[in-house]
């Protein structure tokens, strides 16, 4: 097996970000087909058959999510494209938006048509100024062509699409925090229920998907749900973008059929560990997914189930590779520093917990750790994830546990010797 370019098709072609070139490669054909030849029910059926699952991290089946929206319900209904891409290690959505913005737009319009939505927002993280400009330009082109706005392709269907620019808050990747942010508020996750399908943006029914999820839709319509599903495994349909980084020979974004063997991807496609070094560990799906050891990677397939069976998650498909020289205590320390900085701070176990975790990891890393610190983490962990308002609690607890369990001896060594870590003044980390 090799790369399978569905979303990334023609991505390196000159001008692919323009409507003209995109269309030259068959772009917007799926939209025309959906609108002119298919009913919303037929589109929904194809998406269900396609087995497309959300690419934002949780892997919820897209067809089921679309089914939650009551098409005939009165009042405005919204679509949100989640382009907050903040999970450390993840850089796929930025690439798609910058070089192939029209595939995102086409997917969005088809989804909106299927669910009868009125307007959509692409929530782009504030750092992504360049992708934001690329998306804006592409949206203007799509309006000019009549793919957006009133009476799209003469169908009587109206749909408006806008970009929105975040302002630096990882937590706004959570769909309910994102909606609060879009409403001009502090980006704090909402209590659930109600869920976005009933009470979303401005309290109206709303569907949220990741950039990549929408980008998969045109090919599903063009080639059929079954075609897409068959690319992957029986449970994980289609292709997935993997962004691999760290100590790897050929870092970058790759598109693979779900179910591709890890070994093939890592060694053949990405070129294995950089500089011929030995592999120490891999984070398979972004910093919130538990780290895996080389022996756990044996026989692993790149799909939701196979990675889950190894106690981790496919997550965002953000693979971070660590070679034998890596100081895993430092990696864990840096990850916890991130979470302590990004908690929204509304609920007790997370606000106090992630800071407490960081304090402990920081102490250990600075050579001031105590034996009982690791037990403390284990003990506190049990009471964070299940009691938080949003999934951020789990997002920092599960990787923290994996680090201290799988690299226990590294941590103990730090604690015992107490002399590694930062010499004072070496960096500004505080």
């Amino acid at each position: 097996m090799a790369e399978k370019k569905v979303i990334l098709d023609h991505i390196n072609d000159e001008g692919e970000q323009t409507l003209e070139v995109y269309q030259g490669h068959g772009g917007y054909k799926a939209l025309e087909k959906a609108i002119k030849q298919m009913t919303p029910a037929q589109i929904l059926e194809e998406v269900k058959i396609s087995n497309l699952r959300g690419r934002g991290g949780a892997g919820f089946p897209a067809g089921v999510k679309w089914g939650f929206i009551k098409r005939e319900a009165l009042g405005p209904k919204y679509l949100i494209c989640n382009a907050d891409e903040g999970e450390p290690g993840t850089f796929k959505d930025r690439r798609v938006m910058t070089v192939k913005p029209h595939i995102v737009i086409e997917g969005i319009i088809i989804a909106a048509y299927c669910m009868g939505l009125d307007a959509g927002y692409i929530y782009i993280r504030g750092e992504f100024f360049e992708p934001y400009q690329a998306m804006d330009k592409a949206i203007d082109e799509a309006y000019a062509k009549g793919y957006l706005g009133k009476n799209i392709l003469g169908s009587g269907f109206n749909f408006d699409l806008y970009t929105y620019l975040g302002a630096g808050a990882y937590i706004c990747g959570d769909e309910t925090a994102l909606m609060n942010s879009l409403e001009g508020k502090r980006g704090m996750p909402r209590l659930k229920p109600p869920f976005p399908a009933q009470f979303g943006l401005y309290g109206k029914p709303t569907t949220v998907h990741n950039v990549e999820t929408f980008s998969a839709v045109p090919s599903i319509i063009a080639n059929g749900g079954k075609w897409y599903s068959d690319l992957g495994t029986s449970k994980s349909g289609g292709t997935k973008l993997f962004g691999i980084s760290g100590h790897v020979e050929r870092p970058g974004v790759y598109e693979l059929n779900l179910g591709t063997p890890w070994k093939e991807f890592f060694e053949d496609i990405a070129g294995g560990v950089r500089g011929g070094k030995k592999l120490k560990a891999v984070i398979p799906g972004g910093s919130s997914t538990p780290v895996l050891l080389p022996h756990e990677l044996e026989g692993m397939l790149l799909d939701y189930e196979s990675i889950a069976s190894r106690g981790s998650m496919l997550g965002t498909g953000a693979v971070i590779v660590f070679d034998e020289t890596t100081d895993m205590v430092k990696v864990a320390w840096r990850a916890m520093k991130f979470y302590a900085h990004e908690s929204c701070g509304q609920c007790t176990p997370c606000r106090e917990g992630c800071d407490w975790f960081y304090d402990i990891f920081n102490r250990i890393y600075k050579g001031e750790g105590r034996e009982e610190d690791l037990d403390k983490i284990e003990n506190l962990s049990k009471f964070i994830g299940p009691n938080t308002i949003c999934a951020f609690g789990d997002a920092f607890v599960t990787p923290a546990l994996a680090f201290i369990r799988k690299f226990r001896s590294d941590f103990l060594e730090y604690i015992k010797k107490g002399k590694y870590g930062l010499k004072s003044g070496e960096t500004s980390h505080a």
Binding site: G345, C347, T348, R351, E352, C354, F383
Partner: protein, 507 residues
């Protein structure tokens, strides 16, 4: 009626109910910090987590039962916040399982992680929910060894002294500001563990209800500047009463020290009047109860006993022909009725009235613009005075403007009258005056008699608020010095002058 079962106790409910309240109604206490019955549910503290189950169903929709025929309950894998979880018919709540207790313990541990251990110097001690729960859940000291969070001290209020290092981020204070005070001057700022409750940089909270933020703060993060370090709450006596600073009649609790001084007023729940709240004006105005108290009757400034005072007053009344009287809307209904009878039967004057403030003259029963509770009428019993027939053909204000029309003026004074220089000056224009006053006044030295009377917390009675609601209250402290109730003085005067007891009093 839908029913849920809380720790094996069935509880029925109607409409939108709250599990914490339902539990309370059957004696089950679910600990909580952020939930407050008068505020929107925020669900952030996670202290109120409970087990929630529903009757399990078979595939065909029938209830699934165990071998004894009992309906099986399937519990949600995660605990749910009982402040937020809507009860539905058949739901089963467990609040005392090991899982719940362990979770509470650890939520406490998280909260104490950054909480300073300064209870010995904290004003909230004795009234602190966090402290109560930490005893209950067995925390004597935090196991948190790392640096505790500290905030720079900023002064965002004239009423509140902040101690934000003690804040547990329950957000009650900012929800109160927005939802109850309808003000946007205090909110959450920054993010995460650095989240700080704050006003705009360099600015202060503007509303008149800040004391309530102190009351609802479950810890000592917001302290009442006025009460700081004054006394440990457990040394004080707490008694129910009414606020007397305006016509709204907020229900309150007076805290009294061993010297019978009022040290604090806090609101007391009354759904029909003030909910859980009171205004800062009323809260902080209590000092008049303690100061300048008239503890002896006087004649031309000289202390005299009650009998002599009665004699002097009676003689003066008998020898006067054009008597006018000023009633006080700061008296009880009982006192007002006695005064009204006295004027009619003994003084034989229609020149009696209570209206010294424009709101009384206009019979204005509205809340001040921009306020939630504070009424335009600064008197606690104007409606009672009106009801007692104490409005004469001219207002008290007009009586005061015409000193030459009366050869004797009887005036019942109160804190607002004494504090009002215009009224006091007008009073000075009268040649002969008999005063009834809880306070020493500048006219005592020239008054025929000044009777010492109790303040409103030194007597029992009824006040009628701006909405026409009669509220009974009980004496909180014994009257200062020689002070005697107005009706008692009037009875004695009546007897003295007419040889008969006043109407309505027993033989």
């Amino acid at each position: 009626m839908p029913e849920i079962i809380i720790d094996d106790i069935p509880v029925q409910f109607t409409g939108k109910a709250n599990i914490i309240e339902l539990a309370k109604s059957v004696g089950v206490d679910i600990p909580h910090f952020c939930y407050h019955p008068a505020l929107s549910v925020s669900g952030n503290c996670r202290m109120c987590m409970v087990e929630v189950g529903m009757p399990a169903k078979e595939k065909d929709g029938s209830l699934s039962k165990d071998e004894n025929g009992k309906v099986k309950i399937s519990f949600m894998p995660k605990l749910q916040p009982s402040c937020y979880q809507d009860p539905t018919d058949g739901m089963v709540i467990r609040t005392k399982t090991e899982k719940v207790i362990q979770t509470r313990k650890h939520i406490m541990e998280f909260l104490l992680a950054n909480h300073p251990l300064d209870c010995p110097i904290c004003d909230q001690a004795g009234e602190c929910v966090l402290q109560d729960y930490s005893f209950q859940y067995g925390f004597s000291k935090s196991q948190f060894l790392d640096q505790k969070r500290t905030f720079k001290k900023t002064l965002f209020s004239d009423v509140i002294t902040p101690e934000l290092n003690r804040c547990i981020h329950c957000d009650r204070c900012s929800r109160f500001t927005k939802e109850i005070a309808h003000d946007y001057s205090f909110t959450r700022t920054w993010r995460g563990n650095k989240t700080e409750l704050s006003a705009l940089p360099g600015e202060k909270i503007t509303h008149n209800y800040q004391g309530n933020m102190v009351d609802i703060c479950p810890v000592g993060a917001l302290t009442l500047t006025d009460f700081r370090f004054k006394s440990r709450v457990w040394f004080l006596k707490h008694s129910e009463g009414l606020c007397t600073s305006c016509g709204k009649g907020c229900n309150v609790v007076y805290s009294i020290d061993k010297q019978n001084k009022v040290l604090r007023i806090k609101p007391r729940f009354n759904a029909a009047v003030n909910s859980y709240w009171m205004c800062d004006y009323g809260r902080l105005r209590y000092k008049f109860f303690n100061e300048n108290r008239k503890i002896a009757h006087t004649s031309s400034g000289t202390e005299i006993d009650l009998n002599t005072a009665i004699e002097k007053a009676a003689t003066m009344i008998k020898s006067s022909t054009r008597i006018a009287a000023i009633a006080s809307a700061n008296e009880t209904l009982e006192s007002m009725q006695a005064l009204k009878d006295f004027a009619e039967n003994i003084l034989k004057t229609e020149n009696i009235d209570y209206r010294v403030h424009s709101s009384q003259i206009e019979n204005n029963t509205d809340i001040k613009t921009g306020e939630v509770l504070l009424a335009n009428d600064p008197y606690p019993n104007s409606q009672g005075a009106k009801k007692s027939g104490l409005s004469g053909s001219v207002t008290a204000l007009d009586i005061l403007k015409n000193p030459l029309q009366a050869d004797l003026l009887l005036a019942v004074l109160d804190d607002k009258f004494v504090e009002n220089p215009d009224l006091m000056e007008a009073l000075g224009k009268f040649d002969k005056i008999i005063l009834f006053s809880p306070f020493v006044t500048v006219h005592d030295h020239r008054a025929v008699v000044t009777f010492a009377i109790p303040s409103l917390i030194e007597q029992s009675g009824i006040l009628v608020n701006i909405n026409g609601m009669e509220q009974k209250f009980q004496k909180i402290i014994t009257p200062a010095g020689e002070a005697v109730l107005v009706p008692d003085i009037i009875n004695r005067l009546t007897l003295k002058i007419s040889g008969k007891m006043a109407a309505g009093t027993g033989a």
